[in-house]
Amino acid sequence: MAGQIFSAILVIVVGVGGCVAYFWGANKLLDLIFPSRGVSGMTAVNNLRRQGLIRPWLFIGPALIILLVYLIYPVIQTLWLSFHDRSGENFVGFGNYVWAFGDREFRNSILNNLLWLLVVPAACTFLGLVIAVLTDKIWWGTIAKSLIFLPLAISFVGASVIWKFIYEYRGDGQVQIGLLNAVVQFFGGQPQVWISLPFWNSFFLMAILIWIQTGFAMVILSAALRGIPEETIEAAVIDGANPFQIFWKIMVPQIWGTIAVVWTTITILVLKVFDIVLTMTNGQWNSQVLANLMFDWMFRGGGDFGRGATIAVIIMIAVLPIMIWNIRQANRETGGH
C-alpha cells in the first residue's frame, strides 16, 4: 500500500518532469538547429520563420498524439467494428444493426432512452430555472444554492446508494426504513418495491439524475438571469405585468440561448447515462438503457465487440446533431480570431 502511494507520487514527478523536459528541451533544440541570435541578418530572419513554422507543432504535438490514439482512432475503429462480427474479423455488413432493431432488449433501451431524453433535461432545466429565480429574491439564497448544487459533486454510484436507501422496501410487517415507503405508508398507501415496477421504475432512476443535475442548470441559468437588463423588468412591472408574466414573457425569452446550452449539455449526459442503471437495476425490470446495454455486450459471454460497437455508434448518431450545432456555434464566435 505504501509502495503504491510512493509509485503514484513517483509517476507524478516523472510525468510532470517528463512533460516539462519535453517542452523545454524541444524548444531549446529548435533554437539550436535554427539559431536566430548571433547569425547574419538574412539567416536570422529565415531561421525565425522556420522556428515559427515548427514551434506550434511542438506545443500541440503531445496533445495531438493523445487525442489521435485515445479518441480519433477509437471512433473510426468502433465504426469499423460495428460492421463486423463478435471477433471483429468477419465482415457482416449491416448485420449488427439488423440484429439490434430486432432485439427486444435493444428496443426497450431505445424506448427508455427516449423517455430519459424527454424527462431529464426538461425537468432539470425547469427546476433549475425556478430555483434560480426564487433564490435570487431571498437573503439566504446563496446558501440555498450551495446546498442544491452539492449533489453535482457526488458520484453516480454514491447517488445510487443514497437513493436506493430512499426506495428501500421491506416486507409486510417490518418497519419501512426507506423514506419513500414510510411516507407512502404514513398517508395510508401500500409500500412498493419501486425499482422493480416496470415502466415506472425508469422514472425513479431519472429522479436520481435530476437530483444531481438540477444544480448545474440552476448555476448557469442564475448567471444568465443576472445578465438581464433590469430596465426590461422594471418596464414590465410599470405596465402592470404579474410575476408569472414577467417570468415567462420577459425573463425566459432573454435567456433562451443559455437554456438551449443547458438543455443540450444535459441531453448529452443523459445519452451516456450508465452508472445509475448499472447500480440500481442493471437493466432488469425493463429499465435498460443503451450505455448499459453496450457495456453488457462488451463483456457478455466473453464479449461481442461487433454488437457493443454497434450500440456505441447508435449513441454517437444521437449526439451528432448537437456536435454539429456546437461546432457551428463556436466557429461563429471565434470567427475572426
Binding site: 515559427g52 426564487l134 448555476v219 454517437m316
Partner: protein
C-alpha cells in the same frame, strides 16, 4: 426593482413568505437524501433496520426473545417458590414495554402487570427488566421458560461502521487506489493541454481553425465510442510486451485522453481572452513563445487551471465506467466507486455497510467542492456558456 410599488404590504408579505417556503422545500428535498446516509452511517446496525433514520434520535422499540433461569432453581419463600432476576444483561440502559410467553403474542402483557400462566404459576416483568416468577410448588423444570418482550432502546450512535468498512470491507484500500488513479490523471492533462491551448490561442499556423473545430467536436464524443478499440489496443500491447493489460499507467493515459478536449477547449477560450498588448510588448522585448507562455500566460491562467483541475479531479474520482474497463477488480486496483458497486451486489441489504461506504466515497468530492466552489462555478460558466 420597483416590486413593492402599488402593492399592499399584506400581499407582499404573503408572497415573500411563499418564496421562502418554496426555497426551503427545495433545499429540504435536495439535502435530505444525503443526510439520510450520513445519519444512518453513524447508527448502530441493529437500529438501522429497526426504525427509519429520521426516528434515530427518539430511540427504537425492538421485540426480542429470552429465556428465564430453570424453574428448579427457584427458592422457597412464604410457601411459594420464587425466581427473581433481570432479563437484561446490562440493566438500566433499556426499558421493557410489554412481554408475552408465546411467539404469536410477544407483547400480550404490559410491563409491570402480573401474567397468570395457569396452574398458579405467575410471571411479572417490570419496565426495568427485573422479573418475578412464582410457582405454587417446587418445579422440576430444567430448561427455563422462553419469554418474549418488546424493549425500547435509547438511540445509539457509533463510529464502528466506519472502522468496519475502512478495514474489513476494503474501503480503506480502495480509497488509496482512488487517490492513486485520480492525482496523476488530474495533473498530466493540465500540462499537455496548457501548451496546446496556448498554441491554438496565440500562435499562427496552417490548420489551426480545423484543429479547434476537431477539439470542439471531440468534446461531445461519447466515451462509449472509445472503449472497445482501446480495450483491444491495451490487450494487444499487453500481449506483445508480456505485461498486464490493466495497469494504473493505462488508466492515467485513458483519463488524460478523455479529459483533454475539455481541457484544451476551456484553457484556450480563457487564454484567447488575455490582452493582446501583453504578448506583443513581451515579444518586442525579445521574448520567445516559450518564455511568453511560461512567464506570462501560465501565471495569468491560474484561475482556469484551477477550474479544470477541480473538474478533472471530480470526474476521475467519481468515474465508474473507465475504471471498470481499464482497471482490474482485484483488491490492489478496485477504486471506491467500483468497490461501492461491488458491495451493492454482495451486501445488498446491509445498510450500515452501504451507507458508510457511500459516505466515505463522497466525502472527498464534497470537501473539494465546498472549499473550491468559486473556481468550480467559474469553470462551469466558462465551459458551457461560451461555446456549449
Amino acid at each position: 426593482m420597483a416590486q413593492a410599488s402599488g402593492k399592499s404590504a399584506g400581499k407582499s408579505f404573503l408572497s415573500r413568505f411563499g418564496v421562502h417556503l418554496a426555497v426551503f422545500f427545495f433545499v429540504a428535498l435536495w439535502t435530505i437524501p444525503t443526510l439520510g446516509i450520513l445519519v444512518s452511517s453513524l447508527r448502530d446496525k441493529d437500529q438501522i433496520i429497526a426504525s427509519g433514520w429520521w426516528n434515530s434520535f427518539s430511540g427504537s422499540v425492538q421485540t426480542e426473545a429470552g429465556r428465564l433461569p430453570p424453574g428448579n432453581t427457584a427458592v422457597e419463600r412464604d410457601g411459594k417458590y420464587v425466581l427473581e432476576g433481570n432479563i437484561f444483561e446490562e440493566p438500566g440502559a433499556r426499558e421493557v414495554k410489554a412481554f408475552g410467553l408465546r411467539s404469536a403474542a410477544p407483547t400480550e402483557h404490559p410491563a409491570g402487570t402480573v401474567a397468570d400462566l395457569g396452574d398458579g404459576v405467575t410471571l411479572q416483568i417490570d419496565p426495568d427488566g427485573s422479573f418475578v416468577h412464582t410457582f405454587p410448588a417446587a418445579s422440576d423444570d430444567t430448561r427455563g421458560r422462553r419469554v418474549y418482550y418488546s424493549a425500547s432502546t435509547p438511540p445509539r450512535f457509533t463510529t464502528e461502521n466506519y472502522r468496519n468498512v475502512l478495514f474489513a470491507e476494503g474501503i480503506g484500500r480502495s480509497f488509496i487506489n482512488s487517490l492513486t488513479v485520480t492525482i496523476p490523471a488530474t495533473v498530466i492533462p493540465i500540462l499537455i493541454a496548457a501548451f496546446a491551448a496556448y498554441a491554438l490561442a496565440w500562435m499562427r499556423f496552417p490548420g489551426r481553425a480545423l484543429l479547434i473545430a476537431v477539439v470542439i467536436g471531440l468534446l461531445v464524443v461519447p466515451l462509449q465510442m472509445a472503449l472497445i478499440p482501446l480495450l483491444q489496443l491495451y490487450n494487444g500491447v499487453a500481449l506483445f510486451f508480456g505485461v498486464p493489460s490493466k495497469t494504473y499507467l493505462g488508466i492515467w493515459l485513458a483519463h488524460t485522453g478523455f479529459g483533454l478536449p475539455f481541457a484544451i477547449y476551456l484553457l484556450r477560450s480563457y487564454m484567447a481572452g488575455l490582452p493582446r498588448e501583453l504578448m506583443e510588448s513581451a515579444r518586442i522585448d525579445g521574448a520567445s513563445d516559450f518564455e511568453i507562455f511560461i512567464k506570462i500566460v501560465l501565471p495569468l491562467s491560474f484561475p482556469v487551471l484551477a477550474s479544470f483541475a477541480i473538474f478533472q479531479f471530480l470526474w476521475v474520482w467519481n468515474d465508474l465506467l473507465v475504471a471498470m474497463v481499464f482497471l482490474g477488480s482485484g483488491t490492489d486496483q478496485l477504486v471506491l466507486t467500483g468497490r461501492l458497486n461491488a458491495l451493492l451486489g454482495s451486501r445488498g441489504g446491509d445498510w450500515e455497510i452501504l451507507t458508510t461506504s457511500a459516505f466515505v466515497t463522497i466525502i472527498v468530492p464534497l470537501i473539494v467542492f465546498f472549499s473550491l466552489q468559486r473556481y468550480f462555478v467559474r469553470g462551469l460558466l466558462a465551459g458551457s456558456v461560451k461555446g456549449g
